[in-house]
Symmetry: C2
Amino acid sequence: MDIESKKTAPIGVFDSGVGGLTVAREIAIQLPKENIVYFGDTARVPYGSKSKDTIIRFSEQIIRFLSTKHVKAIVIACNTASALALEAVRDKFEVPIIGVVVPGARAAVTTTERLKVGVIGTEATVKSGMYTKNIQKMNPEITVIEKACPLFVPLVEEGFREHHITAEAIDYYLKSMKNTGIDAMILGCTHYPLLRTQIQEYLGEKIKIVNPAYEAAMDLKQLLEHADMANTGEDLCSKYEFYVSDAAEKFRQFANSVMPFDVPRTNIVNIEEY
Amino acid sequence: MDIESKKTAPIGVFDSGVGGLTVAREIAIQLPKENIVYFGDTARVPYGSKSKDTIIRFSEQIIRFLSTKHVKAIVIACNTASALALEAVRDKFEVPIIGVVVPGARAAVTTTERLKVGVIGTEATVKSGMYTKNIQKMNPEITVIEKACPLFVPLVEEGFREHHITAEAIDYYLKSMKNTGIDAMILGCTHYPLLRTQIQEYLGEKIKIVNPAYEAAMDLKQLLEHADMANTGEDLCSKYEFYVSDAAEKFRQFANSVMPFDVPRTNIVNIEEY
């Protein structure tokens, strides 16, 4: 690819399902000139309870699919896949790949003053301990408390954001976290920003919420500028394409509630063929 | 296969994950001489929110895998796959295949006196309307009220059976159902028998619970006897094999809490290759 076509090439963004839309949304807001190809693995969602080998295999298939769209960079907009598969796929593919864990960890390190950080995520992300490892690599004096909240994803996906069952679940999972002295809390799953208001209210204003989706968009911006790959066209209308492995219409409806524009169409891909 | 080896051949049982173990348990209890090969599609669980085409494709892959184990009959121990894929796969494969929907519907028809039946299940099962269709094919005068309860599966899988969040969810989903005059309630998802006590308590004794897992085991018994395929060996110790597409150890632990015997080992299969 020559430099000019590299600049206009799209960013590939993928997730196990709809959660990564919170990352695509941040990219659309922070980098409004970039084109995006989004893939949601709705046929195999959720990733959070699956094993490392499986997550790597799924991620490789998706990267092979995104490569057919000539993406110039890929953002793994899924904490579980970032935690479990990023290193493996970086070794295997030439396209630059960014995850959400390192940017999220870095933001927490600069946010915490008490050197005590909380992380909530899926079972697989927490089990991997990747947030703790990355935070302590940057500052070994920081204590990290991780907690899996496996019900949050189905609660968000089933539209229970405002329901008091969700309030109960927040209390159930975060009660022990609340009084540990943390002053920063990483939303270590891309669905959780959709519960941000409720979580912030429960934890109180003294605990600052870190959203890795926002941080990953910032990292992407830097990467594109440094590599001279940012889209600098003047009169471009950005193009967003959405692909899923299943249930396109349900995805489209959810996407419309998350993205800052209308999602007109979602395409189905048989991802197992890649 | 000659008649004698057909008799000792195993029963194939499959589900999207652990839920179908409630069906395998019923088969183990009702047909203690039969060998069982169980497959749980833990890499692609849940099926309940996926589309018909995807469920058919997944079911075909699993039936091809079970065929390599020379099963003499297959039980689709998953309401979603029974509702969406049974007809398609029956046309395609020679091995006799039983689902859970028809046996469950038949039991409800003989149970209801007021001619009013409730059905709870996943989104996909309810959307298919297969319970209503099958019940009204047997007795068009029966009114059927179906309701999707998408949080029940994650609540069971995350070990919240006894927690008051589950009681809240039961109240949330079943409140409208409780006073409709139904006198039979089909547990139209294989996970739900694991919430049977809580659901029965909430609904009260006047509403009889119908468990399709039990009914499917009874149908299987009849099928094997009529086709002269029942295992009649005298001194056999039945063999149970468990295969999953991911997270074998987590499956084994769950299986141990459901099955009436110790599950020693679970094998991983790359189901996408079938």
